[in-house]
């Protein structure tokens, strides 16, 4: 039986049926955020791949692509990589996290106002 071949790259990104929520109320911001997050994910992937290469070089001295594909971190290595990814996510999400802190802070005056006050006090 000959099966229909699938253009997997085109089909992978197929849209899900159902109107997408207009969360940001800004068409351009929504599109840009989707690109930014996909790129953020790819940076994380590259970091992880480099970590794999470094760990394999540490233990083997020379490596092949097959070694990279077969690599399965265990124990401390798995933990260290997960912490690195966690730290990376925390860094790129700094804006959201600091806005969250700002909501908890006492009301703050514009810096120009404080500046004027300090000049004369």
């Amino acid at each position: 039986m000959t099966e229909e071949s699938i253009d997997w790259i085109a089909r992978a990104g197929r849209r899900a049926k159902g109107r997408r929520p207009d969360t940001l109320h800004d068409y351009n911001a929504e599109r840009t955020l989707s690109i930014l997050l996909a790129v953020a994910a790819e940076v994380s992937v590259l970091k992880e791949r480099l970590d794999t290469v470094e760990r394999l070089l540490d233990t083997k001295g020379t490596i092949s692509r097959a070694d990279i594909e077969a690599y399965q971190p265990a124990g401390e290595a798995a933990y260290e990589r997960a912490v690195a990814t966690k730290e990376y996510v925390a860094r790129i999400m700094r804006g959201m996290q600091q806005e969250m802190e700002a909501m908890q802070a006492a009301p703050e005056r514009p810096m120009a106002e404080i500046s004027a006050e300090l000049r004369d006090s």
Partner: protein, 399 residues
């Protein structure tokens, strides 16, 4: 300080029909797992902070009262910039999980199809019904942003919807369901052994089985039981059957059938009727009909057991109801909100289970805790995905 981090995607157990991830595809899931965990666990509380510090005070100022229900909270929160951005991030994360899972699955669709076919061809334990229409609630939207939904086929006889579903469960739950994403099914086994030691059901029925990850552990725990698992979607059943066979659960027959009409089974045929995270994917009319049919096919003295996220009760704060409703409106779960507001006990009573035959229980995923995390509950919970459920059950009275 020891950091709370999820296990790597490579800790997933690769059964014989599991889509093989490349190094980078696994790394992509690792990013999404960390990202989901961050959104729910680290900054999810920001939604409550926004609500308490500015959304609720503004609502009170405008209306002179508190919000009356979760929908008023949602309308107000959807105007808050922090919550809006958080929702946009989370929605993207769900979409990215689908893209990665489909990419992994579809690039190896020919190899996977061949493997699945080896387990399926000529087997009477997989019974498909090409004439069965997709129910209207399966056709309304692609549930949890899964393109094509459970029934989507890229070509005739396709099983990639099941493979994609199986490949991503680990990432969306942060490994909370264990190596085979079967922590729910393992929890059922542990629960029944504690609740009714020595009880051996002769026939078990699983409704809305998808890839069978929740029923395989039960089938393995009761190898002499005849297990039937039904779903309306052939695409997931093809994969589920091959997956179960690969894992040695050969006592399960997968049948394409709508649980609203199980007339193929006689009254009192099963000792156990099970659903796991299924009821919220039905509709207002389908759910009571499924419960009635379940009651009919259940033998006197038999068990009906439904695992779901907690129902919204009057005791649950409105804010918590609102945040638990996020998936309903942002992750294509159109029956989620209405289902969780139902009085399930009343629905079950109307189907023939008197209140004193009913019970509820808290059930946590059972996984290898040396590798896999306990699901966070409370403020850090990833609502809708936490590997911890409420069970709504009943023992059918003897005739």
């Amino acid at each position: 300080m020891k950091q709370d981090v999820p296990p790597p995607y490579t800790a997933v157990a690769r059964h014989a029909v599991f889509p093989t991830p490349s190094h980078d595809e696994a790394a992509r899931y690792n990013f999404l797992t960390a990202f989901n965990k961050y959104l729910a666990g680290t900054i999810g509380i920001g939604n409550k902070i926004a609500y308490d510090s500015r959304v609720l005070p503004a609502f009170r100022e405008e209306h002179g009262r508190d919000p009356a229900d979760r929908f008023e909270i949602r309308d107000a929160m959807n105007e808050d910039p922090w919550h809006r951005y958080w929702s946009a991030l989370k929605r993207n994360s769900m979409e990215m999980r689908q893209q990665n899972g489909r990419s992994i699955t579809l690039r190896q669709i020919d190899e996977l199809s061949a493997k699945v076919r080896q387990f399926n061809e000529g087997r009477d334990t997989l019974q498909l019904d090409p004439g069965l229409p997709a129910p209207h609630y399966m056709d309304a939207a692609d549930i949890h942003c899964m393109p094509g939904n459970y029934q989507g086929e890229e070509r005739p006889g396709d099983m990639s919807a099941g493979a994609n579903y199986d490949s991503g469960l680990f990432a969306t739950t942060g490994g909370g369901l264990g190596a085979l994403s079967d922590g729910g099914g393992q929890a059922l086994v542990e629960w029944i052994r504690r609740e009714r030691p020595g009880w051996t059901p002769r026939r078990i029925l699983d409704l809305g089985c998808t890839v069978g990850h929740n029923i395989v552990p039960l089938a393995l725990a009761f190898p002499d039981a005849e297990v039937i698992a039904i779903d309306t979607a052939a695409a997931v059943l093809r994969y589920a059957h091959a997956r179960a066979q690969a894992l040695g659960a050969t006592n399960i027959t997968f049948i394409q059938m709508n649980a609203e009409d199980m007339s193929r089974f006689p009254d009192g045929h099963f000792d156990w009727v099970q659903t796991t995270m299924f009821l919220h994917e039905l509709s207002g009319k389908a759910l009571p009909q499924v419960i009635r049919e379940s009651a009919r096919v259940l033998a006197p003295g038999g068990l009906m057991f439904h695992l779901e996220q907690p129902q919204y009760s009057d005791d649950m704060p409105l804010y918590e109801q609102f945040i638990r409703d996020w998936d309903a409106f942002n992750n294509n779960e159109p029956f989620w909100s209405a289902m969780h507001a139902l009085d399930l006990k009343k629905v079950m009573e109307e189907a023939g289970f008197p209140p004193d035959s009913q019970f509820t229980a808290r059930v946590l995923a059972v996984v290898d805790r040396t590798i896999f995390p306990q699901a966070a509950e409370g403020a850090q919970e990833d609502h809708g995905r936490a590997a911890a459920w409420n069970a709504y059950g009943a023992w059918k009275p003897e005739a």
